[in-house]
């Protein structure tokens, strides 16, 4: 069941003025949430910015959930100024998450995160590990500063390979190129990914070429987050027909093969 509640910011961490992590006291939402689901976060009680902003559930424990976000505009900038002890209104858990452990053969998973797209992958990686699935995280960014949560994965003993476009850390190039080099020697049974559209498009191709099923988490501008406005659609194939489907309700996670890229 969905819940709209005020949650106390129990913890805050920041990396410069770009990346932020909030820990929120929300036991009910925490208990119900699955990796890949998201929250709609109210930025302010004033009418600007007007809409809530969607953020993936980054991690959870018994009482708290975490969001990890990048400062990219008006809303995220205002949110980043909130302090420990402040309350924010959150709605969730929303959407369908990643499918976990539904195929018996999926014993080895590659998780690909581009920039802030790594946010939902931490929660996912932790759940996969619990199911004894072998996880490798491919984490890409523009520069070394764009990989702030790499250490979190490593702390969980998750194999984490990084890439940067400027070569300041790890593999020099795109995270999808890093994945391709890895695929030469090692094939996962499943790919999970979240990140910029260009990255997800390339992954669709890679998934097809290597015949590895992939689950991709899409972004879209959202009016409501719970299926009421029809504002967040992407073209998705169901059976033989392709139609506009709601990212918030039918997604945000879709099978790579079902997404029709324009």
């Amino acid at each position: 069941m969905l819940k709209n509640q005020r949650a106390v910011i129990a913890g805050k961490k920041s990396w410069g003025n770009d990346y932020f992590l909030f820990s929120l006291e929300a036991p009910v939402i925490s208990r119900k949430s699955k990796p890949g689901q998201f929250l709609m976060v109210k930025i302010t009680d004033n009418p600007y910015p007007l809409l809530r902003r969607p953020f993936s559930i980054h991690a959870r424990n018994k009482h708290n959930i975490e969001i990890f976000f990048q400062n990219t505009g008006v809303g995220t900038s205002m949110l980043s100024q909130k302090q420990r002890g402040d309350k924010i209104e959150i709605l969730g858990p929303l959407g369908n998450g990643f499918h976990i452990g539904e195929r018996s053969e999926s014993k080895k998973a590659s998780l690909i995160g581009g920039g802030r797209g790594a946010a939902p992958l931490y929660f996912l990686a932790c759940e996969l590990v619990k199911k004894n699935i072998n996880v490798t995280v491919f984490y890409g960014g523009k520069s070394s500063e764009d990989l702030p949560i790499a250490s979190k994965f490593k702390k969980e003993n998750i194999r984490t390979l990084c890439s940067t476009e400027d070569g300041s850390s790890g593999f020099k190039g795109l995270v999808t190129d890093l994945l391709e080099t890895e695929l030469k020697t090692d094939t996962p049974s499943l790919i999970y990914a979240c990140g910029p559209e260009g990255m997800l498009k390339s992954l669709s191709k890679i998934s097809k070429k290597h015949q590895i099923p992939a689950e991709l988490s899409l972004e879209s501008i959202m009016g409501c987050g719970f299926g009421a406005c029809w504002g967040c659609v992407k073209k998705i194939k169901k059976g033989n027909t392709a139609e506009w489907h709601k990212v918030c309700e039918d997604g945000p996670v879709f099978s790579a093969g079902d997404i029709i890229w324009d």
Binding site: P47, L51, D262
Partner: protein, 305 residues
């Protein structure tokens, strides 16, 4: 006790707050957040005779205190609606209003006819004012004759009361409101969204997939209020005020301007329980000002210097 009930003549509401079409889904989407029985009523998402694809994304763009949309009325069509959705809406104690769309006058009439036997439907709202389906945002509500013809045809084909939803994208709103009244409309609701556009300066591309879209939210409230005042001054039938309402005081402004009831749209996205909050705030306002019957406020604007 404050009496905030509303009598529209053809329909009694327990309070003046109705959720606006396209911002409230089919109602069901909001049941995790509010008890649907507690609001005055709700208007379901615009319905065409056949299923409709809608416009390409991006369908939403935010602007200061406002939202632009170019959804294009994607929907399941009237047949699936009556089979799959209507049964779920039976037995509600709030008014159920169906927002009807059409490409031709006959299409409006056919939907009205098709759904007429359903007693759980309190009224139709004719959406002759959507800026997102025809080229250049054109719609029938921009022409007094087109408005008159559609209303007249629909009234002939059904016994369910008809509310006509007007467009703000006109020079003289009184003229259109009068045409709807002459056509036999039982009420008018206004405003639908304002034709608008946005451009991304980085890419020079329009922010909306359909280029033009409709602006809603707090940004439009003063213009909507002016138009509601003008329409209410022109017609005898009840006027339902819409546009940027996000608080009880906003709703009261529209009622003082001459509206009998109000619709709440975009605010449902920011706060899914905003309709209930607005009802509470209206009651609190009346208590504070010692107003016994909310209806006494309708049209009570004080124009004395």
């Amino acid at each position: 006790m404050v009496d905030i009930s509303v009598d529209l003549g053809f329909l009694k509401l327990k309070n003046p707050v109705i959720a606006a079409s396209g911002t409230f889904g089919y109602g069901i989407e909001f049941s995790p957040f509010i008890d649907l029985n507690q609001i005055g009523g709700f208007v379901v998402k615009g319905l065409y005779l056949s299923p409709k694809q809608g416009n390409p994304p991006p369908r939403l763009a935010e602007t200061a205190c406002g939202l632009m949309n170019s959804i294009g009325l994607q929907g399941i069509g009237v047949e699936r609606f009556s089979k799959e959705v209507l049964p779920q809406l039976k037995g509600l104690r709030s008014a159920l209003i169906i927002n009807i769309c059409g490409d031709t006058n006959e299409e409006y009439a056919r939907i009205a006819e098709y759904l007429d036997k359903h007693e759980e439907i309190s009224a139709y709202e004719l959406n002759i004012s959507c800026p997102n389906v025809k080229k250049e945002g054109l719609c029938p509500a921009q022409d007094p004759d087109d408005t008159y013809e559609i209303v007249k045809l629909v009234k002939k084909s059904c016994s369910t009361p008809v509310i006509t939803k007007l467009s703000p994208n006109v020079t003289d709103i009184s003229e259109i409101a009068l045409s709807a009244e002459e056509g036999g409309s039982d009420a008018v609701s206004l405003v639908n969204t304002f034709l608008a556009m946005g451009i991304d300066p980085e890419t020079r591309k329009p922010r909306l997939g359909n280029f033009f879209g409709g602006l809603s939210g707090p940004a439009i409230k003063p213009i909507a209020l002016r138009m509601v005042y003008q329409a209410a001054s022109a017609v005898q039938i009840p006027v339902i005020g819409i546009g940027g309402i996000a608080s009880g005081r906003d709703a009261i402004e529209f009622i003082i301007a001459g509206a009998k009831a109000v619709q709440v749209g975009t605010a449902n996205f920011t706060d899914p329980d905003s309709t209930l909050r607005i009802i509470d705030e209206i009651t609190a306002f009346c208590k504070e000002k010692k107003i016994k019957r909310l209806q006494d406020l309708s049209g009570a604007v004080d124009l004395n210097p």
